[in-house]
């Protein structure tokens, strides 16, 4: 069991979702975050005050997968989120000890296998 945690550009989300579904990854959770990396900084001005925005809007995906799915999940995200400009994001793969599906109490692999 792994948790794939990916940070991507907001405007790549539709492609990434499509890519994941194509890779048969159907369960995922998305949150709006803001990131700092090597991106060019934005400058804003409000009345005389000039500010540098160090954080950029990003989307974070949390995807619990069983081992066989790890690689294709990472690959699907990498491809769909790619633009080539600085700021495309990062993917972290974390070990997971246990996954539970609340509705059925199924554990682990069964917990992340979609019911359709």
């Amino acid at each position: 069991m792994k948790l794939v945690k990916a940070i991507i550009r907001p405007d790549r989300l539709p492609e990434v979702l499509r890519g994941l579904y194509a890779a048969e990854v159907y369960g995922l959770t998305v949150s709006r975050v803001r990131g700092h990396g090597g991106e060019v900084e934005k400058v804003e001005t409000y009345r005389g005050t000039t500010v540098k925005m160090e954080l950029h809007d990003k989307i974070m995906l949390d995807i619990g997968v069983s081992e066989p799915f790890v690689d294709r999940t990472v690959k699907a995200i990498c491809e769909a989120a790619y633009t080539g400009e600085v700021g495309d994001g990062k993917i972290f793969v974390l070990p997971v000890e246990r996954i539970v599906r609340v509705r059925t109490k199924e554990e682990d692999r069964a917990a992340v296998t979609p019911v359709r």
Partner: protein, 447 residues
């Protein structure tokens, strides 16, 4: 001098007490009071439009969209006083006014009809402002702001002023007997066609048809629609240029037509999508208001209800169809204002009634009026479309019309205005003066 004024004068005689009517060319306190209010009401419509439009775009473009309306308050307002008014209402020819009143020369407190000339100028100015701002709905989320400002500045002089002259300033359309109480052709057909042309020239947003581009704040859309309705009472009611029965008729019709259009839209929405949408209701209000605009002081209240009901259909269907095409008239300015204006102008020819201050319409037996209305629509649409096209191409020679793809992706608020509509301040670092300029000029390209 002004056909419009004189024509209402005649009507006025019928209903006002003798004490007023005796001195037709003196200022009437009551009429002035109502026109003062009407001018304020119409001016308020432009901020209202900013919210109507601003709520419909994505939050990263909210300020840019609102600014397109707000900047018209400055640019179009000032130019109207300096030049536009004279071009529209100067004696001139059947085609355009002249420069005799440029910079408001000779426009003072003397009566024009029963109100001070200056007030008439200002009232008309508020129309010029909102007509320009209406166009912006077709080019939101992608047009460069400086090019937009140049466009509306020139459009007000080269398109709005002549068309206004044709219809209200003593020009040929007015002479021909076309009925346009408060701007079905002058304002709405004019802006609607210009919007469609601008959408074509600019091209679609890069995400159009590929991603769902959803309204970021529907309450703002409703707020805009509510305040627009309020302001429209000045738009139509004030176009009587007097606080008389015709003003009352225009105001009542401006209340009933959108009500009827709303009801029709709700049923359409329900039968087509099984949902009654808030964006739909806001749109219906605007379409009903647009449609009654040319007719407000010419038709009976029951005529207004019928007109409002009928006008829901073409606009509703066009909006549904348009979203399936490649034409990114982003906020459906053509479907709402262009088509709403056309429906309204034609139906004015149908429902106009002598008993209610209008000329004879089709129902009164004068089918020819519909033809006259059609000619006026075609003339305005043709002129507006062609000159808008040329104007945009001309401006495009000097500066790009569209923001680059990166700016569009980032959102026009940050790229063109250096602001966020809803900033949290997280990760914002104050810059002192030495740091600021290089960033401003260097790292981020200015749209």
């Amino acid at each position: 001098m002004f056909r419009r004024t004189v024509c209402f004068m005649a009507v006025l005689m019928v209903f006002v007490p003798a004490a007023f009517a005796q001195e037709a060319d003196a200022i009437s306190g009551a009429d002035t009071a109502w026109l003062l209010v009407s001018t304020a009401l119409v001016l308020l419509m432009t901020p209202a439009l900013a919210f109507f439009y601003g709520g419909l775009v994505r939050s990263k473009n909210a300020l840019n969209t609102m600014m397109m309306s707000f900047v018209a308050l400055g640019v179009s307002g000032a130019l109207w006083a300096l030049l536009g008014y004279s071009l529209a209402f100067g004696e001139g020819s059947a085609w355009i006014g002249d420069f005799s009143m440029a910079a408001l020369k000779g426009v003072g407190l003397e009566p024009n009809g029963t109100i001070p000339s200056l007030l008439f100028m200002a009232f008309q100015g508020t129309f010029a402002i909102i007509t320009a701002a209406l166009i912006s709905g077709a080019v939101v989320e992608r047009m460069r702001f400086p090019s937009y400002m140049a466009f509306i500045a020139l459009w007000g002089l080269l398109v709005y002023a002549p068309v206004c002259h044709w219809v209200w300033g003593g020009g040929w359309i007015g002479e021909m007997g076309a009925l346009d109480f408060a701007g079905g052709a002058v304002v709405h057909v004019n802006a609607g066609v210009a919007a469609m042309v601008a959408a074509l020239v600019l091209g679609a947003r890069k995400d159009y048809g590929r991603e769902a581009l959803l309204p970021h704040n529907v309450p703002f859309v409703l707020l805009g629609a509510g305040i627009l309705w309020f302001g429209w009472f000045g738009f139509n009611g004030g176009s009587a240029l007097a606080a008389d029965g015709i003003a009352a008729l225009a105001l009542v019709n401006t209340m009933l037509a959108p009500a009827a259009c709303l009801v029709a839209w709700v049923f359409l929405d329900y039968f087509v999508t099984k949902r009654i949408t808030a964006v739909g209701v806001a749109t219906a209000i605007v379409v009903g208001l647009v449609a009654i605009t040319p007719a407000a002081g010419f038709v009976s209240p029951t005529g207004a209800i019928a007109l409002g009901l009928i006008s829901a259909f073409p606009s509703y269907l066009l909006i549904r169809w348009r979203t399936r095409t490649k034409l990114d008239d982003s906020l459906d300015v053509f479907a709402a204002h262009g088509v709403g204006g056309i429906s309204g102008a034609l139906l004015t020819g149908v429902f106009a009634s002598v008993a209610f201050g209008g000329a004879e319409g089709m129902i009164d037996g004068n089918a020819a009026q519909v033809g006259i209305q059609a000619v006026s629509i075609l003339a305005v649409a043709g002129y507006s479309g062609i000159v808008t096209f040329l104007l945009l191409k001309f401006i495009g020679l000097f500066a790009p019309l569209r923001a680059d793809a990166q700016s569009e992706g980032l959102g026009m608020d940050i790229s063109a205005h250096g602001e966020e509509a809803y900033a949290t301040g997280e990760g914002a670092v104050l810059l002192n003066d030495e740091e600021a300029p290089e960033h401003v000029n260097g790292l981020i390209s200015v749209t």
